[in-house]
Symmetry: C2
Subunit: 386 residues, 2 copies
């Protein structure tokens, strides 16, 4: 077994396993290529130009962003094809126009006539046509117009007349709560069918709909046929997390992101190991609490990434984590003396990563090949904020 | 009613009401002065030198820090009296020594003989005496030795022989789950009594215990007699939050921190208002879920801070919040057109603030006096990370 040597950073810090990252990226790329559509990775999880640069062979490809701060940073890095996939607030349109004036083909998202009118007006005033997607609600998760809502056509007409109707976009957010292959397959086919029906509705009325965009990590993997879809968005797949493992779209061994913490105490009478990583290090996200296996604030592994049997981070305060054996397990609390470093695998990579401004990148696979300890040899910055 | 004009920042952003901050700071200062002990504010909530500078009249006073990054930043700002109130990991001792070499009287915390030996060894090697507190467990919340554990004396002896036994420190973490004045009074008296008993146990054995440190915002306010205690630590009181209001130590109107978000959509059939502020803007902390009134991800107010009747942020994804009327309320969803800005009052100020690298500071009170709209006229940086 390789022994991970970590030079420099104090705990807690976020480690990104470069080899797992590349494997995860390749797996999705090959899957989407087989389905014959465009992959437009969502960079909301990684929020890192360095991670995104692993996604594309040579030239920057199409991406999805969750904030205009991401759009700015990726524009600086040469990315020119973006969807800002959060419903547009009208006051953000000058920022969108500024990015477009830089040569970035940034498209916006909306689900109301009010927003469409704002985009049309901003387009007219700027003597341009801002491209916009109509958000379609495929599963009641969040925003979007229903596919049979007459507002879909009304919005399409406003955009087509004074802005640019780029297409339709939907997100099967409820697929995160699926946990059987059958439920995931249903979610994926529903996401596709709703998006294609919406596109057809627009086209039947003589409106353009060049792009039909769907996506979530679970449905992307569950999809076997994407007829009528032109592109897939997904982002979590680069890192994966315990929620995705619970959904069944990855194994624990695929998780590329973890947090390194140090043991700072023991409460033997309670079966507790105390660490210097609390919710500030992991986030308060407890996504697996809704799943069949509640992983607490995260699973605990050694520095090589090997899980300790049934050891989870069960409690968190700001700068303290408490590690315990799962309820109902017969496993014995491992001996982890004060000063021992362990890794916490996160419930929700998007939330855990957001607690950091950088990743410490390890190249574990190459280290194994070279029979030398893995070391941190890169620090990759995140684009936080708005 | 004053109308808050916010110039500049895109939503979401964190607003700090300077007048409420000063009121909260003054209230705690006067309360602790009446009790006749030292106030050592915990800066883990605010993590801001600018906020801390509101705590002290002229010279920087004693503070409590939760990370060595905070210690570095506050040392840079002239603060020289600090307790790092997280159990010390031995690998952090060189950093502690470096701060002490800069003239910062930084004391550490520990609850095991292993840690005491590490502190003693580091002291010997550096030909100095690192001051350390023994952490006492007063309510089973987290770390600390029990007051009747012989380890207390053993740890004290190790520190006294080769480092510096500065005193005992306890934190009534369970007081956050109290919700009656009676329960809070019991928690406060227990915290005091346990700390004083521990100090007496050390002194009976001929060991020094110059400092007896207790603290949490709830117990600080519940305390009516602190005989034997020398100092109180508390941090949340500067901002307050919905959990503290639920505990009963503040009113909703005292909350100094909030998040400004923009309405980006409506789902009338579901009774939803959608905003551009998700858990990235508020954190996933749902501390009030355990209280009598579950505030969701936060209460919703207008920009002046006046709550909308029974409107809460009930759901969150990364960059989307959903506002709904509380279950069982007869209130009507307010009319908030797309583009409307509202404020979200947080469950847990420590966690919500941690989603930001800065505060936008408003001086609402002075604006009211001047009969002009309040504006943001300061940006105060936070010290995030470790």
């Amino acid at each position: 077994m390789n022994s991970l040597t970590i030079v420099g950073p104090d705990t807690p810090f976020a480690v990104l396993d470069h080899a797992k990252l590349l494997q995860n990226i390749l797996r999705m790329r090959q899957h989407i290529d087989r389905l014959g559509v465009t992959l437009r990775p969502h960079i909301k999880t990684a929020k890192s130009v360095d991670v995104a640069n692993c996604l594309f062979d040579d030239v920057p490809g199409p991406i999805t962003v969750s904030t205009l701060a991401e759009a700015d940073a990726f524009a600086d890095a040469g990315y020119t094809d973006m969807i800002y996939a959060v419903g547009i607030a009208p006051h953000k349109l000058p920022h969108v126009l500024a990015l477009r004036a830089r040569g970035v083909d940034l498209a916006v998202l909306l689900d109301s006539q009010e927003q469409a009118e704002a985009v049309a007006q901003a387009s007219c005033e700027a003597r341009t046509r801002i491209p916009a997607f109509v958000e379609i609600d495929c599963d009641g998760h969040r925003g979007g117009v229903l596919v049979d809502d007459p507002a879909l056509i009304d919005i399409g007409r406003i955009l087509d007349s004074a802005a640019e109707l780029r297409g339709v976009l939907t997100h099967a957010g409820e697929s995160y709560f699926a946990d059987t292959p059958e439920a995931l397959a249903v979610a994926a086919e529903n996401e596709r069918a709703v998006a294609v029906t919406a596109a057809n509705a627009l086209q039947t009325m003589g409106l353009p709909c060049p792009v039909v965009s769907v996506g979530s990590t679970p449905t992307a993997y569950a999809a076997v046929d994407l007829t009528g879809v032109t592109e897939v968005r997904a982002g979590n797949y680069m890192f994966f997390d315990l929620v995705m493992a619970g959904v069944g779209v990855c194994d624990i061994d695929n998780l590329a992101l973890s947090v390194v913490v140090t043991v700072i105490g023991h409460r033997e009478s309670r079966g507790w190991i105390v660490t210097d990583g609390g919710w500030m290090a992991t986030s308060s996200d407890r996504g697996t609490a809704r799943q069949r296996v509640d992983q607490g604030y995260g699973m605990v592994t050694d520095l090589d990434g090997v899980p300790y049997t049934d050891l989870i981070m069960s409690h968190a305060s700001q700068e303290h984590g408490i590690l315990t054996i799962r309820p109902d397990s017969a496993a014995v609390l491992p001996s982890l003396p004060i000063g021992t470093r362990v890794r916490i695998l996160p419930n929700h990579a998007c939330a855990t990563a957001a607690q950091y401004d950088k990743y410490h990148v390890i190249h574990l696979t190459s280290a194994i090949e070279d029979a030398r300890p893995a070391t941190i040899d890169a620090i990759w910055r995140r684009v936080n904020g708005w």
